[in-house]
């Protein structure tokens, strides 16, 4: 790895560490807000409409993935001055 690549790696890792801190704060808020509100409804769905629960489970995990990917990419871009990689 050349000195240029080393600098790039160091810069990425520094941005990543900062991203991790901001992300942790966001995730903590997310737990208290979203998961707490969804919990009761999901349990009810799982016991009464298992097929709907199965579809909702897949949609929820994909939805969360898309949103978190958007958040992490946005954070990384912000911290690295317009570049995400």
């Amino acid at each position: 790895m050349g000195p240029r690549s080393k600098t790039a790696v160091r810069r990425t890792l520094r941005a990543f560490a900062l991203e991790l801190v901001i992300y942790a704060a966001l995730v903590t808020g997310y737990f208290f807000a979203v998961l707490h509100l969804l919990g009761g409804w999901l349990v009810q769905l799982e016991t009464q409409h298992i097929r709907v629960y199965a579809v909702v489970a897949i949609l929820l995990i994909i939805g969360q993935a898309v949103v978190l990917e958007w958040v992490t990419t946005g954070l990384l871009r912000l911290l690295r001055g317009g570049r995400s990689e």
Binding site: M1, S5, V9, T12, F16, E19, L20, Y23, V27, Y30, F31, L35, L38, G39, L42, V43, E46, I50, R51, Y53, A54, V55, V56, A57, I58, L60, I61, I62, Q64, A65, V66, L68, E69, T72, T73, L76, S84, E85
Partner: protein
């Protein structure tokens, strides 16, 4: 934190850390990481059926993040991914049926344990030999040519002659994969995917530990594209598996959502890291992963513990 669907008390920090570790592995190697996630959930006191189903749900989310990142880097062959998903689903169904047969015969634990140890050790040994040989060969040729080609994204394989021979089998219909730079028989792609699906249905998880190396060595897909395409394909096959497990009452989506918050950021780190490593180095780093799986299975066999 209490998770009412699986009736389990689990520390969310533990779930996030497990998700993060598996996310890094997934983003870097294109594997689901079930051989770590399953036992890790079991260690937290979650029943096996929930561990397997919930892990699959979490794999869907993690693969979406990592595949999206790989797609941005140009590492996903969509055509190959869709074809492979068909073969994987077929293989997973056959694998699940084999499990049911073994359950009826009463020797499922022993047979699955022995088969998994043989497969894990076989993959590790082969990949160690191949990547070591490839790295040694490229070192020699670089020294001779004093090449200035950058290390990252370069791909070479000591097994290339076999891959080329397989690509010469002209069994119609032939499928052209411009993104991967390969033209190959549809049946070979389906066979590779079917074997991966069979391992997934038989041994559990996404079976990326067999599909990713097969894509490189059998289909001749460059390593970076194999990692990205495998992740894309896992989104489809793991979604199918999640639905199947969820209707059997084996998925605690709340646990999967918490795990995924760690995996989302880990997968990004793993995917970005692939840019700094050449294909043979990624394959060499992959070697310990199936060994961890084998060690866990051997431990459970001889200690009598069900992790």
């Amino acid at each position: 934190m209490f998770f009412p669907i699986s009736h389990a008390h689990v520390n969310p920090i533990y779930l996030i850390v497990v998700g993060f570790v598996i996310g890094v592995l997934g983003g870097f190697f294109g594997v689901g990481g079930s051989f770590i996630a399953g036992p890790a959930l079991r260690l937290a006191g979650i029943d096996w059926n929930f561990a397997v189903g919930t892990d699959l749900a979490h794999i869907v989310g993690k693969s979406v993040v990592a595949a999206k990142r790989h797609r941005a880097l140009g590492n996903v062959d969509l055509r190959l991914g869709f074809i492979m998903a068909l073969g994987t689903i077929g293989g997973a169904e056959v694998g699940a049926q084999l499990i049911q047969m073994l359950k009826r015969a009463g020797n499922v634990n022993f047979v699955v344990s022995v088969v998994s140890i043989v497969i894990y050790l076989g993959i590790s040994t082969f990949m160690l030999w191949e990547s070591w040989k490839t790295l040694a060969r490229s070192k020699r040729s670089t020294a001779a040519r004093k090449s200035t080609t950058p290390a990252a994204k370069s791909d070479d394989s000591a097994f290339q002659h076999v891959t080329k021979a397989i690509q010469r089998w002209r069994i119609p219909p032939m499928i052209s994969l411009p993104a991967s730079g390969v033209t190959i028989s549809l049946w070979i792609i389906l066979l590779v995917a079917f074997v991966g699906g069979l391992c997934s249905g038989f041994l559990g998880g996404g079976a990326g530990y067999i599909r990713m190396p097969s894509m490189v060595y059998v289909l001749g897909i460059p390593t970076h594209l194999a990692v990205g395409t495998d992740l894309f394909e896992i989104i489809i096959s793991a979604s199918y598996g999640t639905f199947s497990h969820a209707i059997k009452g084996n998925v605690d989506i709340l646990i999967a959502l918490v795990m995924h918050t760690g995996a989302a950021i880990g997968a990004q780190l793993g995917a970005i890291s692939t840019q700094y490593f050449a294909g043979p180095k990624i394959r060499l780093a992959f070697v310990p992963l199936p060994l961890i799986g084998a060690a866990i299975v051997i431990y459970t066999m001889f200690s009598g513990h069900k992790l």
